[in-house]
């Protein structure tokens, strides 16, 4: 008979879902306005970019790597998108600019992937370097001036709706659905998990691990572009400082969702649920009516989540008896 503790520690997804529902219930009880459709929708829309990128990041971490440059990627992509579409700058047609942004995002991910696989560099270092370089490039492009005249045709991605749901929400759901299908039902997905689970065995089995990693990084870059397009276009201004701390949110979502940094283990679903939960923290602090100062604690709580998640992992490890032992 599985106890509640069993569920929480063994199947991380159940634990996160439970926590998610619990939070909704508790905060909703204290302040029912929290559960109004408008608020829920706003939270989800705010969360969409994290969800989208976390899908790609999950695969990267499953393979035993990491990408902390997604925030800076977003900064550069937003800047380029703004510069290309703004009437006072390049004033390209929106469709072309969007295509260019998607292409650029894919390219950035590809560069990360190439440096990690063929450059044989550790991903923490590669993405650390890229994080710095890309932020510098985006600042240089902005040259101190915010972009304030984004055309309506572009902003529709951020504020428009499709079948009544905001586009960012639809996009996020589609991305999650496709990535889950990729992970579970395609050979590519299975091979990614295999390569993450035992790299040496993967090599002996003839699996093309470098190409798998290349795919994961490139996908993450592409998804970052998608996230930028549906999120940054909500605002009328593109300024320096876009995407600061974004990578932290994404990695937190992935880790809290049960993906292990040592590779092989982790689900898209877990990252998705965990991203939702993290996205609620900021809103939660407001609705609990703890005062203006409470919102300053948002970051602290996000950090605390990771620590709780790893403690839960630790407890789970303790409980699992060593399988080699006699029954």
């Amino acid at each position: 008979m599985t106890t509640l503790r069993d569920l929480l520690t063994r199947q991380r997804e159940y634990g996160v879902l439970a926590l998610l529902l619990l939070t909704l219930a508790v905060v909703g009880a204290i302040n029912p306005a929290f559960l109004k459709i408008g608020n829920l929708r706003d939270m989800l829309v705010q969360d969409a970019p994290v969800v989208i990128v976390a899908c790609g990041m999950t695969l990267v971490v499953v393979l035993g790597e990491i990408d902390i440059s997604v925030g800076s990627q977003m900064a550069l992509l937003a800047t380029v998108l703004g510069l290309l579409t703004s009437p006072s700058h390049a004033h390209w047609p929106v469709a072309t600019a969007v295509a260019a942004a998607l292409g650029l995002g894919t390219l950035l991910g590809l560069i990360n992937g190439l440096l990690v696989t063929f450059g044989r560099m550790p991903s923490i270092i590669v993405t650390l370097g890229m994080l710095t370089v890309l932020r510098g490039v985006s600042l240089a492009l902005l040259n101190g001036q915010d972009i304030t005249d984004l055309p309506v045709g572009l902003r529709v991605f951020g504020i428009g709706t499709f079948l009544g749901l905001p586009i960012s929400l639809c996009t996020a759901l589609v991305v999650v659905g496709l990535t889950v299908a990729l992970a579970r039902e395609t050979p590519l997905g299975r091979r990614i998990y295999a390569a993450g689970s035992n790299p040496e065995a993967a090599r002996l089995a003839g699996l093309p691990t470098p190409r798998l990693k290349l795919f994961a990084f490139t996908l993450t870059g592409f998804l970052t572009a998608v996230a930028t397009i549906v999120h940054q276009t909500q605002f009328s201004v593109i300024q320096a400082g876009v995407g600061q701390g974004f990578e932290l949110l994404v990695v937190t979502a992935v880790v809290v969702g049960g993906t292990s940094i040592s590779g092989g283990r982790g689900t898209i679903l877990g990252s998705f649920l965990s991203a939702l939960m993290l996205g609620m923290v900021g809103s939660m602090l407001i609705f609990l009516r703890l005062g203006v100062s409470a919102t300053y604690w948002e970051r602290a709580i996000q950090g605390a989540f990771i620590l709780v998640a790893v403690l839960a992992d630790h407890l789970a490890r303790q409980r699992r008896p060593r399988r080699e032992a006699a029954p």
């Binding site: 299975r190 065995a201 002996l204 006699a326 029954p327």
Partner: protein, 505 residues
């Protein structure tokens, strides 16, 4: 059985790693339906030969022909298509994936459109496992299954490749007797289907039981290929070592021993071992036998302080050790030579000298600072005493052969002047020559008063070295045998789970 073209023909195969030859001009043929044994000391080139055959490595010279056509070198897929499959020594399973994925990843069955055909893969997996007589939960990730089942999945994967040449590298190293029996049955079945098997093992009994021909390699070269019917056990050993084997001579009579140095009382840890009590006297070698998974290594690491027990005490010369502290154990004179010398015993990228100093560094300091003189003396003394074959103390430990690495793993403890020596599989993966040296060393230490606890799965080894043998079964001590009464059968009788005696091969 014979046709004009042999099934697999290896001609003039050579492989050098950066100028250092690992394999030189090796030629042999393997016939379909044959079990062909490949033997040789560690470093003789067996591993390299296998890797060239299975496409992991590209040879520097020579060729491999399968059914007359040349096999593309260094190409895993080509080897697979030619029907060559390898069951490797190291774990090749994916712990986070379930059994089905483990068997099929890389060769997935697909539906039209590219998606996985899960029902078909599941059915085939079930069929394979039925053939092996294993019932496995197909939905659980492999890491949640018992070790033996995981090994079987690995075997199933190799079988699922419908290969024509199956290369098995030490396949019984981690198997229980029952599984070994099943493996042998499968091998015979495969033989009757015309599958050729290249069988690598250090275990002479297995080779004589299974194989029809044996190829011996030494120092990367072919020594000889002979039918097993024409050779004796000693003759085979002589081919591998190039000299008469001296080990396993009975040692002197039961030497007078002192008092108990190591006293273990009621050591218990849930799920691993229960109520373990034992004594080891000065000058005594106590063997600890048992099946894999009986809990022997866990007891050893508990005594040494790596993983504290739930209850129970360990006392050295009457003083109880604080549990869970390795430095405390070392300070009181306990030394553990662990099971896995690469992961636990040595820091391979460091030099030989550094490795020898690791355990003893602190005691060689003067007021906290290192003393190069004392360190050099210690290292030189140890290297000489162990006759470690290496160019000097500065070379990296990962360049040494397995036997020399084992000597290093053991030797680093001698500098701490221990009173209790715990050895966990001290000659696993060690060639015959180095084995003899290790035996001599163990005996010499015992004569000088060392209390030794010897854990080994090698029954002849335990019988030759131990003054007394304790047998563990499923986490408990099942019985004790004095040297004069002990036989392999009696040890196994105690080690096997209670029930009707299983017939051995």
């Amino acid at each position: 059985m014979t046709s004009t073209t042999p099934f697999v023909q290896i001609s003039g195969l050579s492989k050098a790693y950066g100028g250092v030859p690992a394999l030189t001009d090796v030629s042999l043929t393997i016939e379909a339906g044959d079990v062909h044994a490949l033997m040789g000391e560690n470093g003789a080139g067996k591993s390299t030969l296998i890797k060239c055959l299975s496409g992991v490595l590209s040879p520097s010279a020579g060729e491999v022909r399968v059914d007359g056509s040349i096999l593309a070198p260094g190409d895993l897929r080509a080897a697979e298509r030619a029907g060559i499959a390898a069951l490797h020594q190291e774990s090749t399973a994916f712990p986070h994936l379930d059994a089905v994925d483990n068997i099929f990843v890389g060769r997935e069955l697909r539906r039209p459109g590219g998606l996985l055909d899960r029902p078909r893969m599941k059915r085939e997996t079930q069929a394979l496992l039925d053939r092996l007589g294993e019932r496995i939960d197909l939905n659980r990730p492999l890491e949640e299954l018992p070790l033996a089942q995981r090994q079987m999945v690995g075997l199933a994967r190799a079988l699922s490749q419908r290969s024509r040449l199956l290369i098995m590298d030490e396949p019984t190293a981690s198997l229980s007797t029952r599984e070994t029996e099943i493996l042998f049955r499968i091998i015979r079945q495969l033989q009757s289907e015309g599958v050729a098997i290249l069988y690598i093992s250090h275990r002479l009994e297995e080779v004589f039981a299974l194989a029809s021909r044996v190829t011996v390699l030494r120092d990367g070269r072919l020594v000889e290929t002979r039918p097993l019917a024409e050779i004796t056990r000693d003759g085979l050993v002589r081919l591998m070592v190039g000299r008469e084997l001296l080990a396993e001579e009975q040692s002197e009579d039961y030497a007078a021993q002192g008092e108990a140095i190591l006293e273990v009382r009621h050591l218990t840890r849930a799920g691993q071992y229960h109520n373990i009590s034992l004594d080891v006297r000065a000058g005594e070698i106590v063997g600890l036998a048992g099946l894999i998974g009986a809990g022997r290594s866990e007891v050893a690491t508990a005594i040494f302080g790596i993983e504290p027990p739930d209850t129970g005490t360990v006392a050295i010369q009457g003083q109880v050790l604080p549990p869970g502290s390795v430095p405390a154990a070392i300070a009181r004179g306990v030394a553990l030579v662990p099971e896995d010398r690469q992961k636990q015993g040595l820091v391979l990228p460091l030099s030989v000298g550094s490795n020898l100093l690791l355990a003893v560094m602190k005691s060689l300091t003067t007021r906290g600072f290192r003393s190069p003189r004392k360190e050099q003396e210690t290292v030189a003394r140890l290297m000489q005493g162990l006759s470690v074959k290496a160019a000097g103390p500065a070379i990296a430990a990962n360049t040494l052969s397995g036997g020399n690495q084992q000597k290093l793993s053991l030797g680093k403890w001698l500098a701490t002047k221990p009173r209790v020596l715990i050895l966990d599989e001290p000659t696993r993966g060690v060639d015959v020559g180095a084995k003899a040296e290790v035996y001599r060393l163990i005996r010499r230490l015992a004569r000088e008063g060392m209390a030794t606890l010897l854990i080994s799965s090698d029954l002849p080894e335990i019988l030759a070295l131990s003054d007394r043998i304790l047998v563990m079964r499923q986490g408990q001590i099942a019985g004790e045998l004095a040297r004069q009464d002990a036989t392999e059968e009696k040890i196994l009788a105690l080690a096997l789970p209670s029930g009707p005696q299983e017939a051995l091969i």
